[in-house]
């Protein structure tokens, strides 16, 4: 009859009080392990972020500044927000003026529709736009009409953007080849020549072999060429685009590694995508590159770059001015520089051009740090509460073991009478406490991922700016579990000591 079996029998003989003690430990361990795991998760993510390309970046954007007129009588309601646009020249000049930065890019994240719609979009413009008089409608006849409402709208359209949009929609929706039957109910004859003038390049881009993408929407970004360098993104297949070269012709799109595998159901090899066309927000793009997997898992708008498509900023902005002006800029610091210093330099520089207080700059690292700190403050409070809960569980175990020892004075005295020395009795009681502690700690650890998920979701849902991925930190769980076991044993040691050192005759006398 070893100590373990005897302890199990003792625990079973007092099921309710044993269960309550175990539940207390489970709750304490699960909450504590969960909160500490979350903190570790944020710390670990912060550590990773601080080494990632994002951490060296400083964003420059217009400050939301209110300009007030001088006339007191019309003070109210006479405010306006200034719009700041950065020119390419001043963006480049910043590289000379600010010693800690060495490159810049612009990125604007958005969701692209892969199927065209009849309604015009604000993004539409650039080489993809223009009055494409019905030419692409040749792609599809009845199939296009039947496939989408947008094709019908196109048929009634008067050319221009609408026609182009509808054509894209028809192509995307039907996946038909150019050998369609003559259009029914479509004003544009299939052989109608397109305007081959200044839009010749675009017209050529409308490929009648376009396949419908498997995804209706793709998250992506309009970026300048510097974006790829700033994030150390390189092409696995094809190439990335750069700022060099003209802003004309069919714009190129670069796909993230994961997106490339699922953008077309029929194309499993990303290499085969190069040269294919992809319509995003009614603009046709030439797939020029597929990125290698981004080991940093950098993300924009909570989607990793691996899942995103990148198009040049000029391709989605109409008007030559818009193409040479930036709404926001992101600079990358030199390895020797710090993001915080660079942010000050950039802010001073752009404010000197656009007016004091008109531009603000934020180092990604600082922004991220603020986000992490915000969460960690909440979690620190949670940790205190969880520690209190764990301590309560330990005190509960202390009380449980004390009451058991008091109730078991006589059996302990008998054990000692027939040959158990006091350390043997001490060990017996400690084994009992450690079984309760271990079961509680293990079940608490098993429950802690639930706490991590629930608490993590609550924190991330309430986070104002940036969502940080949370994960279960196994070493933390193990440490908390072991800690709980050690604390259980420490709190059980006093009743065990009292029990093992009782006077045999006193205990035997007490009937």
């Amino acid at each position: 009859m070893n100590a373990f079996i005897l302890s199990v029998r003792y625990i079973r003989s007092r099921k309710l009080e044993s269960s309550l003690a175990i539940v207390g430990i489970i709750l304490g361990v699960a909450t504590l392990a969960g909160t500490l795991s979350l903190i570790a998760s944020y710390e670990s993510y912060y550590d990773k972020f601080s080494r990632s390309p994002s951490s060296r970046q400083v964003r420059v954007m217009q400050a939301t500044r209110v300009r007030v007129t001088d006339e007191p009588a019309v003070l109210i309601g006479t405010t306006e927000i200034e719009n700041v646009r950065f020119t390419a020249d001043e963006a480049k000049a910043a590289l000379e003026v600010c010693p800690d930065v060495d490159s810049f890019y612009e990125a604007e994240y958005r969701t692209f529709a892969t199927t065209a719609s009849a309604s015009g979009t604000s993004d539409f413009g650039g080489p993809g736009g223009g009055p494409m008089m019905g030419a692409p409608v040749a792609a599809s006849g009845t199939a296009a009409t039947a496939a989408t409402g947008s094709a019908n709208q196109a048929s009634g359209g008067t050319g221009g953007e609408t026609g182009a949009n509808a054509a894209a929609g028809a192509n995307a929706a039907t996946g038909t080849t150019g050998a369609g039957s003559p259009p029914a109910g479509n004003d544009a004859p299939p052989d109608m020549p397109f305007d081959g003038g200044m839009f010749g390049a675009q017209a050529e881009a409308i490929d009648t072999t376009l396949e419908k993408p498997a995804l209706e929407e793709i998250d992506g970004a309009m970026v300048t060429g510097g974006f790829f360098n700033a994030y150390s993104l390189r092409a696995q297949y094809g190439d990335i685009f750069s700022d060099a070269g003209g802003n004309s012709g069919v714009p190129g799109v670069v796909l993230g590694a994961t997106l490339a595998q699922k953008v077309y159901a029929s194309v499993t090899n990303p290499a085969d995508l190069i040269g294919k066309k992809l319509i995003l927000n009614n603009t046709t793009y030439n797939i020029i590159g597929v990125l290698a997997n981004d080991e940093w898992n950098s993300s924009g708008r909570n989607i990793t770059f691996n899942e995103m498509a990148f198009v040049p900023t000029y391709a989605m902005r109409s008007g030559s001015a818009a193409r040479t002006q930036y709404r926001n800029l992101t600079y990358t610091t030199k390895t020797s520089g710090t993001p915080a210093q660079a942010a000050i330099q950039l802010e001073n520089y752009f404010n000197s051009i656009h007016g004091e207080g008109s531009v603000i700059s934020e180092a990604n690292l600082d922004t991220f740090n603020k986000e992490v700190t915000k969460r960690e403050r909440i979690l620190a409070l949670m940790t205190i509460l969880a520690s209190a809960s764990a301590l309560t569980a330990a005190i509960n175990l202390f009380n449980l073991m004390t009451s058991r020892v008091v109730r078991r004075r006589r059996p302990i005295a008998i054990m000692r009478a027939i040959g158990a020395w006091n350390m043997k009795v001490f060990g017996q009681i400690m084994v009992e406490a450690s079984i309760i502690g271990t079961v509680g700690a293990l079940a608490g650890i098993a429950l802690s991922p639930v706490v991590v998920n629930v608490l993590g979701n609550m924190l991330e849902n309430s986070a104002s700016n940036q969502s940080i991925p949370v994960s279960v930190n196994v070493p933390v769980l193990i440490a908390v579990g072991l800690g709980a076991l050690v604390i259980s044993l420490i709190f059980a040691a006093i009743p065990a000591k009292n029990g093992s050192s009782l006077v045999i005759t006193d205990a035997l006398r007490a009937e």
């Binding site: 006589r410 027939i418 040959g419 006091n422 006077v503």
Partner: protein, 225 residues
């Protein structure tokens, strides 16, 4: 052989501001117990019978005097050494049986052997043997709660014999039993004595007192015969 020389057992009781009072359990006890004896200890309530048995069984140590076991002074032994002496050389049978209710008969009998470090297989064999000897081969795996008083006391005797001790200490072993059952228990104890075991038994019952080879009568902590 046990030799008690000038044994006193007392407790100092605090009586508030007036000071302390010394309460004696045993006074100047001198006794030699030889191997194979059947000693009965008798006396009125509070005379020190149980204290005497506890001191003899090393469940408690005397306050003063010398305790020799086989010529060795046991007063200086550590807790662990005393536990070992109780485990290897002494067996105990109590009035209220004192079995562990969480363990079945075999497990209760095994317990002293566990403390002696005997391997599990041997323990089980020996426990079954002993239970058979006390007539409980049909109740090996029964819980004490499911047993009659007589059966429980027989399990307690089997447990006392687990490590084949030289001395059996019995404190009113038939006190909680019907007379017929008590008689059966006494037959077992007498049988053990005949096999050479030294028996030291506390009893109120004059008839049982006469069963021993020697009867020690106590009054106020002193041996009066």
């Amino acid at each position: 052989m046990i030799n008690l020389i000038g044994i006193n057992k007392y407790w100092d009781k605090t009586l508030g501001p007036e000071g302390q009072e010394r309460v004696y359990g045993l006074r100047d006890v001198n006794i030699d117990i030889n191997r194979g004896e059947f000693i009965t200890i008798m006396g009125p309530s509070g005379s020190g019978k149980s204290t005497m048995l506890q001191i003899l069984g090393l469940l408690d140590l005397p306050s003063e005097g010398q305790f020799l076991l086989e010529g060795n002074d046991v007063m200086a032994l550590s807790d662990r050494e005393l536990a070992r002496v109780r485990n290897k050389f002494f067996g105990f049978v109590f009035q209220s049986f004192n079995l562990l209710p969480e363990l079945n008969a075999v497990e209760n009998v095994q317990l002293p052997m566990t403390y002696a470090g005997i391997p599990a297989k041997q323990r089980t064999e020996r426990a079954c043997e002993l239970l058979e000897k006390v007539g409980l081969s049909h109740r090996l795996y029964h819980n004490p709660r499911a047993m009659s008083g007589g059966e429980q006391q027989r399990v307690a005797i089997a447990r006392a014999l687990a490590n084949d001790p030289g001395f059996l200490f019995a404190d009113e072993p038939t006190g909680n039993l019907p007379s017929e059952t008590g008689r059966q228990i006494m037959e077992i104890i007498q049988g053990l004595n005949k096999e050479g075991m030294t028996i030291i038994m506390v009893t109120h019952d004059d008839n049982l007192g006469k069963m021993g080879s020697r009867c020690l009568r106590l009054a106020d902590g002193k041996i009066i015969n």
